[in-house]
Symmetry: C2
Subunit: 157 residues, 2 copies
DNA sequence: CTCGAATCATTCGAGCCGTGAATCATTATG
DNA sequence: CATAATGATTCACGGCTCGAATGATTCGAG
């Protein structure tokens, strides 16, 4: 592999598409997403479900509409996600007393436990995924990803 | 909240799933992939097509079977990708004289030009995507991604 | 107070992608 | 020469996501 130490980054020359950050990030991100999906699949959920639970975890109450906006998907998709999680007993739907059109989704205890298991799984996966990086590289990577995530308008965790 | 029972809580990671590298990498990678797709879409191709052209660019001749393995997809998908690129005049199919079952795919001049335009588009996108990073951060990011890509068994380029 | 417009959740049909099995041509094997 | 193996191709299927209708509820104007 090319050791890019010391040299100038991103040159507009022979590198071509495989040399761009978007490309590497895209392909590697796909790999990461696939592995994550494979890791949580035995738990009966898919990445989108996990995303929903995460969103619920630190927003104690949220309408499905809000969640749809937060996850960047259409509200109708939230319905099926919530359906599945409700079938698992991970979330509950409660009508908002103040506005009875709204369904307030809340994590149940079971849901919190499920999320905890997903978290443990993800962290285990994370450790082996980043095992080849030096601590300094890992820190630098996280920092760079945070910057890009903020720039891309992603939920700043 | 984050009660990871059984296992010891990893060093400074109270962040949970959104704090893992796989998660950030996955979501950010999806964004990157989407933007890349949107960027090359006006050129009439999709990321997989670009991937195929890239693979062809520095392997002047390759059977579709080889390409399928290289791209990590099933051979039947290569057929449709090649069909589309052939319709655009970007690739040519030639029967291997040595083994007439094989279709040798080659980039045409038009294909090279198309790939060049895709490359330019990608690099422009890349610059604006990484604009928020300092040069040092960018270098560190590329280095870390290279390590992870190699570890993940991706085409080391 | 009432009627019409707007909002939220839900259902349902449609489209796109990628896969896996079956098919045809060609080549290797014995 | 016959039979198995390989490469390319086609095609029908399933999964995922979106968008348009539907029903319930609330808001706002008069």
């Amino acid at each position: 592999m090319d050791e890019v130490k010391g040299g100038r980054p991103a040159s507009a020359e022979g590198a071509g598409i495989p040399g761009t950050v978007v490309f590497k990030l895209g392909t590697l991100g796909t790999v990461a997403a696939d592995r994550f999906a494979a890791a949580v699949e035995p738990l009966g959920v898919k990445p989108k479900h996990v995303g929903l639970m995460v969103a619920l975890a630190h927003a104690t109450s949220a309408s499905q509409q809000d969640l749809a906006a937060r996850l960047g998907v259409v509200p109708s998709l939230v319905v099926s996600l919530a359906d599945h999680l409700e079938r698992l007993g991970a979330v509950e739907r409660v009508r908002d007393p103040a506005d009875r059109r709204r369904q307030i989704l809340t994590l149940t205890d079971e849901g919190r436990e499920l999320l905890a298991r997903c978290t443990a799984t993800a962290q285990t996966l994370d450790r082996q995924f980043t095992a080849a990086l030096t601590p300094a590289q890992l820190t630098a990577l996280q920092q760079a990803l945070a910057v890009l995530a903020a720039e891309a308008g992603l939920p700043t965790e």
